[in-house]
């Protein structure tokens, strides 16, 4: 009898919707979605999850992951997540937010949600720019990085320095887990998944607020090829935004 020599190399997680992507080529939101979907599925959470989607390119996360979802106003996802979790403490609740969303307009909501120790998880995608609105400066934009609202490059004297959210969140009493990972290469993606798993377990095991920051690429607004964008994550972002776990419940 002939041996089966072929094995399926690419299998979609059960909760990923098989459809065309609206993200730009080389965008890391797609990778982050897949990691979130895999973690939800491996932890058996899909059926009891309520997702809070935010403003920005990722508002459409609900088009790709099959789960109950509510859309929050720009930056307010941590407050919406709080309301959802308080109303349904028995459900798994998480938000998925960009840097403009979480670190700028919604900074107060983010800090206070963490500080209260809400038993929720936040997946934070840091691509150092406002993607959806066409590449304006974000609180995480790096010194010297050109955006449409700092065309000469971000200047520390004028615009301040890029905010380090994983460290800031770790400093708050209510945070039980905070880590920064990157999605620019296989090795980093594997650790990114491990961190998301842990941020999710932080909630399911009752430890409290879990936060994971993903350093991600926005080739379109960085005006780079996907390959160059991945290199930028490695060479420019990681040295300023060090990868690692800043607070852990274990």
């Amino acid at each position: 009898m002939a041996e089966v020599l072929e094995k399926e190399a690419f299998v979609l997680p059960e909760n990923i919707v098989d459809r065309g992507s609206h993200y730009c080529p080389g965008c890391h939101h797609g990778i982050a979605h897949r990691l979130v979907a895999e973690c939800l599925s491996e932890l058996g959470l899909v059926d009891e999850t309520i997702c809070v989607s935010s403003i920005g390119c990722s508002v459409f996360i609900y088009n790709y992951i099959d789960m109950d979802t509510i859309e929050a106003p720009h930056g307010r996802a941590p407050a919406v997540v709080t309301g959802v979790k308080r109303a349904r403490p028995d459900k798994f609740v998480f938000s998925y937010q960009g840097d403009g969303d979480l670190a700028s307009i919604g900074l107060a909501e983010s800090v206070h949600c963490a500080n209260r120790g809400e038993k929720v998880s936040i997946v934070f995608v840091n691509n150092t720019v406002y993607g959806m609105t066409g590449g304006q400066m974000a609180p995480t934009t790096m010194i010297g990085q050109k955006t449409t609202t700092c065309p000469g490059g971000r200047c520390e004297d004028r615009e301040g320095s890029p905010m380090k959210m994983a460290e800031l969140m770790a400093s708050l009493g209510g945070t039980a887990f905070s880590a920064r990972v990157a999605t620019n290469n296989m090795k980093n993606i594997v650790s990114a998944k491990r961190a998301i798993m842990k941020a999710f377990r932080c909630q399911t095991e009752g430890h409290g607020f879990g936060f994971v920051e993903l350093l991600s690429a926005c080739p379109t607004n960085w005006r780079m090829t996907p390959v160059a964008a991945n290199e930028r994550v490695e060479k420019e972002m990681i040295p300023y935004f060090p990868l690692g776990t800043y607070k852990d419940f274990e």
Binding site: D47, E48, V59, T69, A72, A79, T82, R86
Partner: protein
């Protein structure tokens, strides 16, 4: 209402009546941020709600409180927030999203003087904000205006019912007078069979709870596909129009009145005393007190206009509801206006001269 209203009779403030009424309505979550003159509401609920097995959160801002309400409402639980004027302004973003996403929640505004920081005294300056939308986009809130502590209690029960009936945010619009005055209130809880009875399966067909075996649900206000927002907004308009069936007003001595004073909330109650006093002196005046400010009781007041009545609108502002009165009676009559300013606490005597002036055609 079929429930016997034979509960305990307690002596409480209007703000406290709001809190007790919410609990009787089956409210499980409260989110708020301190602001005078409504602080008794969060202060009381911080112990009552947890004791009833619910959740109390003092949010970091009104922006956050209203968005927490949005989140809880998306789960189909009964939740509310309360504030006063400047705080309500901050809540408008979430209120607009709730209207767009068709979420049922209750917002209490104990209005104080504005604009800006204004003062902490009573005012009705937020009428426009409450009934014309307030936040961005084309939407309406269902707005109830209590005039007594008993109504503050009763209308909270009704507000939750209406919020779920229409899947729309409902505002209870009081003011500093109502919030701070104390009077006896008969407590009651709607019993099974009462239309206002709270059934735990409410919202079961749309609420978020994890998809389980069914297809995933999505609550949103974003409609980008061509024509999708137009369809959505047409549906919202039809919903707002259908609220008309629940429009309501109190008519006091209107039948044989020559002049009818339109006034709502606390001012409506003060005018009622003026009307009573003027009647004792033989003046044919009456009171029309809209209880629902949106939907406005247009048919009811227009029916009075058709009988040839004249109108005067009295408000604790520079003239807001008078626009709706004029619109409602326009085929038959007009309305004069008398406004008092925030900071003034009007007494029934203050309205005698303005009413007699209009009655005597001065």
């Amino acid at each position: 209402m079929s429930s016997a209203r034979d509960g305990e009779r307690i002596f409480i403030k209007g703000n406290e009546a709001v809190a007790h009424g919410a609990l009787a309505a089956g409210c499980r979550c409260y989110f708020g941020y301190p602001i005078t003159p409504q602080n008794d509401i969060p202060e009381l609920l911080s112990s009552l709600i947890p004791a009833a097995g619910g959740q109390f959160v003092q949010a970091e801002s009104e922006v956050a409180a209203a968005n927490m309400l949005l989140g809880a409402a998306s789960c189909g639980v009964r939740a509310f927030t309360s504030s006063s004027s400047p705080g309500i302004s901050l809540m408008q973003e979430a209120i607009s999203y709730m209207a767009g996403s068709q979420l049922p929640g209750v917002i209490v505004n104990m209005v104080r003087g504005g604009p800006g920081l204004g003062d902490i005294g009573p005012s009705q300056g937020d009428y426009f904000q409450a009934v014309k939308g307030g936040g961005h986009g084309d939407y309406r809130l269902f707005v109830l205006a209590p005039a007594t502590c008993q109504e503050a209690y009763d209308f909270m029960i009704e507000a939750f019912h209406l919020a779920f009936k229409y899947r729309n945010p409902v505002m209870v619009l009081g003011d500093a007078i109502l919030g701070q005055m104390k009077e006896p209130v008969t407590t009651w809880t709607p019993a099974a069979g009462d239309p206002l009875y709270h059934d735990d399966t409410e919202g079961a067909e749309w609420r978020l709870e994890g998809k389980g075996e069914r297809p995933a649900r999505l609550l949103k206000s974003l409609y980008l596909e061509e024509g999708a927002l137009a369809t959505h907004n047409r549906m919202l308009v039809a919903k707002h129009e259908s609220m008309e069936q629940d429009a309501r007003a109190e008519e006091f001595l209107c039948d044989d009145a020559e002049l009818i004073v339109a006034a709502f909330g606390s001012i409506g109650r003060i005018v009622k005393s003026t009307v009573r006093n003027l009647r004792a002196k033989g003046h044919k005046v009456g009171l029309f007190r809209p209880i629902t400010l949106f939907p406005f009781p247009t048919k009811q007041i227009d029916a009075l206009a058709a009988q040839g009545k004249r109108f005067l609108t009295i408000e604790h502002n520079t003239g807001q509801m008078v626009d709706d009165v004029r619109l409602a009676v326009r085929h038959h009559a007009d309305s004069a206006f008398f406004g008092c300013m925030p900071g003034d606490l009007p007494s029934p005597e203050d309205f005698v001269e303005p009413i007699l002036n209009v009655l005597e055609g001065k």
